[in-house]
């Protein structure tokens, strides 16, 4: 990890200078003017991104929130057919969609599986990634070769890998079942039985996620000074004690980051579920994101309001999670 702390302090120092300059004592107008003259460079430089975010993220976001408060669907939104403009006829319904989602079974059921899916994927991925990173961090013949092979799943575009797995999982002709048949075991309905499908999608997502975890943690391991281990070893610490008291604390900042990132990614992992099972069989593997997609694009008439409602709820959940996570870290003295 090139987490190079010197530039952090430099940036901070630079910031202090800038802040010192802008510390005005005059009247509000002069303050504004002074702040404008001090900061206009910075503001001009962030302007393009601010504009882009406001126009293509901010506006759709507010429209999405608005749609979630209406009964918009395919038949009543504004659309143009040829040269004819058909105006929108949907109506404002207040929080009806939210009460419906939160009191009905469907949202809560999907949320339950989404949480299981996220926790299972992230924890298994983290443990495997940590294990492999530790092995690759030892002096061992062929290390860079192993590393290269282990990274491969990350290098292949996700949707390609997912199709490769679908090929392997194929019930009648897939390789996995043919191998099982060779051992005299009945074919497993990998993607057609609710329980097996859940297992299968988690397996694929873990397979996809381990390389990132491994590389990130390997970077973290390499930044732990070796003297710590030498000292501990001289003091007679066992391998497990060294792992618990040096490795894990040394990996703190890397692992908190990767856990946060991969939790968010997994929670929103659209392609794996969508391409592997389409949420099926039934709705067994449907996570919140794929279900929201289904409302808007796979059922008829397309239910835009319900989809937006689920989208907003997903966002709220993730932001709550990030806030809580951050607070917990801060309580433990982590600066983030």
């Amino acid at each position: 990890m090139a987490v190079d702390t010197s530039s952090q302090s430099v940036a901070k120092a630079a910031g202090d200078v800038a802040r010192g300059r802008s510390r005005g004592t005059g009247k509000p107008e002069t303050k504004l003017k002074r702040s404008l003259s001090t900061h206009w460079y910075a503001w001009a430089m962030v302007a393009p991104v601010t504009v882009v975010i406001a126009v293509i993220i901010g506006y759709p976001l507010f429209r999405g929130i608005y749609l979630s408060l209406t009964d918009a669907n395919e038949r009543n939104v504004a659309r143009s057919i040829g040269v004819n403009e058909i105006p929108a006829t949907y109506e404002f319904v207040g929080l009806d969609n939210y009460t419906e989602a939160l009191t009905g079974d469907q949202f809560l059921g999907t949320l339950g599986w989404t949480l299981v899916w996220t926790v299972a994927c992230v924890s298994v991925t983290f443990v495997l990634g940590l294990g492999l990173a530790n092995m690759l961090n030892r002096r061992i013949a062929g290390r860079s070769f192993y590393r290269m092979l282990l990274i491969l799943p990350w290098a292949v575009p996700g949707f390609v890998s997912v199709f490769a797995w679908r090929f392997l999982y194929n019930q009648d002709n897939g390789l996995l079942n043919k191998i099982l048949a060779g051992g005299g075991i009945d074919a497993v309905p990998w993607l057609n039985d609710p329980t097996w499908a859940k297992f299968s999608v988690i397996a694929v997502n873990v397979w996809l996620g381990v390389p990132f975890m491994m590389v990130a943690l390997l970077g973290g391991l390499q930044s732990i000074p070796g003297e710590l281990y030498e000292a501990a070893e001289m003091d007679g610490a066992s391998a497990w004690q060294r792992f618990r008291n040096i490795t894990l604390p040394g990996l703190r900042s890397v692992s908190t980051t990767v856990i946060l990132l991969s939790t968010i990614w997994t929670f929103n992992m659209f392609p794996v579920i969508f391409l592997l099972t389409r949420g099926g069989p039934g709705e067994a593997t449907q996570i919140l994101v794929t279900q929201a997609y289904k409302f808007a694009f796979e059922i008829s008439p397309r239910d835009f309001a319900q989809s937006s409602t689920w989208g907003v709820l997903i966002l709220v959940l993730l932001m709550l999670f990030a806030a809580v996570y951050r607070r917990v870290l801060r309580k433990q003295g982590e600066v983030w």
């Binding site: 990890m1 993220i57 143009s80 390609v160 390499q222 391409l275 937006s308 983030w336």
Partner: protein, 310 residues
């Protein structure tokens, strides 16, 4: 981790008698914390290698299997033979009888435009956020972070409706604009991480020489940040290249699909055409994988640098 950034720890360690400087070894290798005193028993060595071999096989096998399948005649696609009558028929079939090249072109155009626009727009922001302290900076940083959390589900419906009213569905432009919602926050965030690794003294020397902040950025910092920009560009390219949800919802009709949508055709519509699908997978994956393996070291560095420093 990068060679351009030797931390004091490495220098210190390399000077220690316990770790003799190893000629011909890269910094990355010497920075590894092997326990030098505790020799591994042969049994432990065997166990270590066995575990790594099993893990490598699991990592590589699905990809390798698809590659081998692509070389078999389509009728043998689902046999368990590793190699059977090797042929390139799947590839010629794919290129001649499907719209693969069109999809490839669409993906290339869309991902390329997204990358160029995304990087172009966000470079200055990454720099400003890395160097200046200004009112609104915290808010901007939070916005950049939170938008990366946006599930596809929040924006997809409103963007779809907006595109529908503007007649941009099924148009590459529509998808490019949509992908910018992913690329811009990400690029800005990652570039901040890279600019942070460039010493402040360079900016100061620019100012001493009378350059404006824009001049410093343009003439001194940007050239130094080239590797970082390349990695950011590459990463946003890969993200757009592999995006599935927007592409599946916004593009219909064979000639408008991107690769992610096109590949779905092989499995859904015509029953499972595993042969051409395998060939298509290989053609999509090999170039991406090669570049990726070349760039990945820097990817993690950039991401975690940005994330950790917030």
């Amino acid at each position: 981790m990068g060679r351009a950034d030797p931390r004091p720890v490495d220098a210190l360690r390399r000077g220690l008698p316990a770790s003799p400087p190893q000629a011909g070894r890269s910094l990355v290798t010497t920075a590894v914390n092997t326990s030098r005193r505790g020799r591994r028993s042969p049994l432990a060595s065997v166990g270590l290698h066995a575990t790594l071999i099993v893990a490598s096989v699991i990592a590589v096998f699905p990809v390798l299997w698809v590659f081998l399948t692509s070389l078999k005649p389509a009728k043998y696609a689902i046999t368990t033979d590793f190699v059977k009558e090797t042929t390139l028929a799947n590839y010629t079939d794919l290129l001649e009888n499907t719209e693969f090249l069109t999809w490839f072109g669409n993906s290339l155009l869309i991902a390329g435009l997204t990358t160029v626009l995304g990087v172009f727009v966000s470079a200055t922001t990454g720099y400003a956020v890395s160097r200046f302290r200004f009112p609104g900076k915290r808010g901007l940083m939070w916005t950049l972070l939170i938008t990366q959390m946006f599930p596809v589900a929040v924006l997809i419906v409103p963007i779809y409706n907006i595109m529908a009213t503007m007649g941009l569905l099924n148009q590459p432009v529509g998808l490019v604009v949509t992908y910018l919602t992913i690329a811009v926050p990400f690029c800005a965030w990652m570039m901040k991480g890279f600019f942070d690794t460039i010493p402040m003294e360079i900016d100061e020397s620019g100012q001493v020489d009378g350059l404006t902040p824009f001049g410093t950025f343009w003439r001194l910092i940007l050239p130094l940040a080239k590797p970082g920009i390349a990695v950011t560009a590459f990463y946003s390219f890969i993200t757009a290249w592999g995006e599935v949800a927007y592409a599946s919802a916004f593009m219909v009709g064979d000639e408008n699909l991107t690769l992610a949508g096109g590949l779905q055709k092989f499995v859904n519509q015509y029953g499972a055409q595993w042969g051409p699908m395998a060939a298509a997978s290989v053609l999509i994956a090999i170039p991406a994988a090669l570049v990726f393996l070349f760039a990945q070291r820097h990817l993690v560095t950039g991401m975690s640098a940005g994330a950790v420093k917030g």
